[in-house]
Amino acid sequence: MRIDPLQLLPVTGRLSPQSSLPASESDKSFGHFLSEALGEVNKLQSDAANAGVRLAAGKIEDISEVVIASEKATIALQLTMQVRNKVVEAYQEVMRMQV
């Protein structure tokens, strides 16, 4: 009986990455998404600061508007911090790798 020697199989089409995203989305890099998200957080922060200034100047009628703006900014910043913590954690995990 003849036994075939073990050999590497070529990776076939089934394992190729499936491009389900539309072309415009997949073209964007991770950095692009990150800077977009950071811009959004920054906008919320400046909205909150702006609302505070207008409240101090007496130009705002609705106090809840100011509080809601600052709450949104807080939540967005906390989400940013969590993402940043995860990234730093991953970096440190890689740096701890034995070579």
Binding site: D62, S64, E65, I68, E71, K72, I75, A76, Q78, L79, Q82
Partner: protein, 145 residues
């Protein structure tokens, strides 16, 4: 409905209830007002609320509207209560007619107080919704800690 959908909806409720409070306060303040710019006594004002999701017309817009939660409340307008005014006998009043009667606003102070309690409680409910949405978001950030 983005990340802050629940907070935005509750915030619109806060704004609407605050306006209702303004209108009720104005009604109470004018409970004895006998002359206005249009003539006649002051008439009670009421606010009208409407769900805020825009006016959809095409099939796909209506369909997508059915598939997602709305985005809060919006004030359509402030309308006058056209119920009859009260007559009071006071011949010495400058606005009294020949028989000595004056027309008083159609405001019932007790009803206004009840409306005020409703507005206050509804405001509180919206604040509770904001806080619940916020604590849900912050709980989600604790996943994996």
């Amino acid at each position: 409905m983005g990340m802050f959908g629940a907070i935005d909806a509750a915030a619109s409720g806060l704004t609407a209830e605050r306006l209702r409070m303004d209108v009720i306060s104005n009604n109470i303040a004018n409970a004895n007002t006998t002359r206005t710019a249009e003539g006649g006594p002051y008439r009670r004002q009421m606010v009208m609320f409407q769900p805020r999701n825009g006016s959809q017309s095409t099939f796909s817009q209506i369909f997508s509207q059915q598939m997602e939660a709305g985005s809060g409340v919006r004030v359509v307008g402030i309308v006058k209560d056209e119920s009859p005014t009260k007559k009071m006998y006071d011949p010495n009043h400058p606005d009294a007619d020949k028989q000595g009667y004056i027309e008083m606003p159609n405001i019932n102070i007790v009803a206004e107080m009840v409306d005020m309690i409703t507005a206050t409680r509804a405001y509180e409910a919206n604040v509770t919704a904001v806080n619940a949405a916020k604590s849900m978001a912050l709980k989600a950030l604790e996943i994996g800690k």
